[in-house]
Amino acid sequence: MDSVLRAAAMYLALMVLFKIAGRRSLAELTTFDFVLLMILGEATQQALLGDDFSMTNSMLVIVTLIAIDVGLSLLKQRSQWVSQLIDGGPTIIVENGKLLHKRLRHARLIEADVMEAARSSQGIETLDQIKFAILERNGKISVIAM
């Protein structure tokens, strides 16, 4: 019983923590983010398995996590409300060459982040060449040229 409860509690705790961290936090992995991700994995693994390293326990944990994940995706498919709560929605951050500063500030982004995405995806050089830049649900910035 406790394996299932552990896995469910960790899933919930991690989901809340990553909601607090925001959608950008692990979208663009820098070297440091990668190290951070590994440390998170290590710490989570200890809490998930405890001192029971049996195959049954690890299978129970994996089964629980996948079951919750599939269950949530089914729920998201049926309910628009749940989908928005878990995944959020896209946010426009550049409109017709103008930065929407207040949105950027709340999303903890700066102009350089937008321009980086613009250069790498569209080969855009200046801000006025951008028609729309959109902060997607997965934290990536997609850019539409003028």
């Binding site: 607090i20 929605g89 929407l100």
Partner: protein, 172 residues
């Protein structure tokens, strides 16, 4: 954020994507308050709310000062913490210490030093006899491993001395 809600940045756009800025503002507010909560948790952890720190380390004595217990108020399930029991009795003699209450339900004793001369079970707890030194003092060092979850009330008593009651909380 409310005073700024009239700003054009907070208006919904329908093209090229359909936005729900009211929800988005709520998400941003959640992220901001979440961050304050995380900082608060880190500060509380540094202070010892989750074991080992000024909030957790306790040193209590009976009213006559003969029995003294140094312990951690907060434990975590599966982790070990030290506890020290001190008792004042007749010099160079045996003194009895009784551990009762929920202590043995919530914790397992990983080590007990120095080894008591005699130990018997007594009800829910146990009785230990230790040798006092030339000043009549005896110390017992325990390593406790939290096995349960929740609040555990315990009592350390010695004949002829005021008993010490204390509570310990074990986090999951």
């Amino acid at each position: 954020m409310n005073d700024e809600s009239g700003h054009t940045d907070y208006r919904n756009r329908d093209y090229p994507v359909r936005e729900d800025m009211a929800h988005q503002v709520k998400v941003w507010r959640f992220e901001r308050w979440g961050w304050y909560t995380l900082v608060l948790l880190v500060v509380l952890a540094l202070l010892g709310l989750f074991s080992r720190g000024p909030l957790s380390t306790r040193d209590v004595q009976g009213s006559d000062g003969k029995v003294r217990v140094q312990y951690e108020m907060f434990h975590r399930n599966g982790s070990t913490n030290p506890m020290q029991l001190s008792v004042i009795g007749t010099p160079d003699a045996m003194v009895e210490l009784e551990l009762s209450g929920a202590m043995l339900d919530g914790f397992s004793i990983e080590s007990l030093q120095p080894e008591p001369i005699r130990a018997v079970s007594a009800g829910q707890g146990m009785k230990l006899w230790v040798q006092t030194d030339a000043q009549g003092r005896a110390n017992l060092h325990l390593t406790l491993r939290g096995d349960g979850v929740g609040l555990f009330h315990s009592r350390i008593a010695s004949p002829g001395a005021t008993a010490v009651d204390f509570d310990q909380f074990i986090f999951p």
